[in-house]
């Protein structure tokens, strides 16, 4: 029987797949299958464990660094502090201390 001539490609395809099924029986696993599988499982577990440890260490370091930076920014330290006890006018006067004599002095000379 020639499958190309009978015009029924579908049936021929099914026959071929059946023949393929018979030609490929379930293989017998080797003796090394289970030991190798457990070796791979343990290897994966180890890598997951180390990755987890590394991730935890990274998170801890990041938290410590964040706290240290927060402390550095918010703890008042003398003149460089972000906060000031001076009033707004005092702070403005202090900021323009150098300019004031130049503006006032010429008027004093004319008198």
């Amino acid at each position: 029987m020639n499958w190309k001539n009978d015009g029924d490609d579908n049936a021929a395809l099914e026959r071929l797949f059946r023949a393929y099924r018979d030609a490929c029986p379930d293989p017998h696993p080797s003796a090394n299958f289970m030991p190798e599988l457990w070796r791979r499982i343990e290897e994966r577990q180890r890598s997951v464990f180390f990755l987890g440890r590394w991730a935890r260490a990274f998170v801890t370091a990041a938290a410590v660094l964040t706290l240290a930076m927060a402390a550095y920014l918010y703890i008042p330290r003398g003149r460089t502090s972000m906060f000031s006890a001076e009033s707004y006018v005092e702070a403005l006067a202090a900021g323009h201390a150098q300019d004031s004599p130049d503006l006032v002095e010429p008027a004093m000379d004319e008198l």
Partner: protein, 199 residues
């Protein structure tokens, strides 16, 4: 089911002996499916181990007994799919290194050593392999599961998580594509001989 759900539950809690029991129950069938999906006997165990490795690390997600087998099939399909994609890339680079004459000589020497029956089997596997390599990995896997493994549409529905109609459409299209490839490879005398021998 080839094992009690109690055994799977014990395996979920990390019981190595229970996991061994699950693997021993399913490995032959799984390896058979992989062998027919990938058609490379030397890599079957490697892919099989990958399937059970994935099973081990995802077993805790399993909730009910009835989904275990479709789920294992799904892991098998995914591992085979990954392998086939890698293999296709590797094959492309390897085949470009060999001349056509070298390939023919290698085939001839391999064929000379085999007896008649194994040669016929080889011919069938090579024919189906050639046909299935002409279509996508997804088509290849779907057709193998349906036509070679003999899974029902209901079982395929659980594996692919799509409804029956969608599956029928996909199967029809995959069949059409493989038939086209079948027609193309069917012009070779060896293939015709195989089909005749099987008929």
């Amino acid at each position: 089911m080839l094992v009690d759900f109690e055994v799977i539950k014990r395996a979920q809690t990390g019981d190595g002996a229970a996991f061994n029991e699950v693997v021993l129950a399913y490995r032959k069938r799984t390896l058979g499916t992989i062998a027919r999906l990938i058609s490379r006997p030397e890599d079957v165990e490697d892919v099989g181990q990958e399937v059970f490795l994935r099973l081990y690390f995802s077993l805790d997600q399993l909730r009910t007994a009835e989904v275990f087998e479709p789920w294992l099939y799904r892991l098998t399909v995914n591992a085979a799919y990954d392998y086939l994609r890698k293999q296709r890339r590797r094959m492309e680079s390897r085949m470009s290194d060999l001349s056509e004459q070298q390939v023919m000589l290698a085939d001839a020497s391999a064929g000379g050593k085999a007896d008649h029956e194994s040669r016929q089997r080889k011919q069938v596997t090579e024919t189906v392999d050639a046909m299935l390599s002409a279509v996508s990995e997804a088509d290849r896997i779907l057709l193998t599961l349906k036509e070679v493994e003999g899974l029902s549409l209901k079982e395929l529905e659980k594996i692919y998580r799509v409804n029956e109609n969608a599956l029928k459409v996909r199967l029809f299209r995959a069949r059409q594509r493989v038939l086209k490839a079948f027609g193309e490879t069917g012009n070779e005398p060896g293939v015709k001989g195989t089909a005749n021998a099987e008929a």
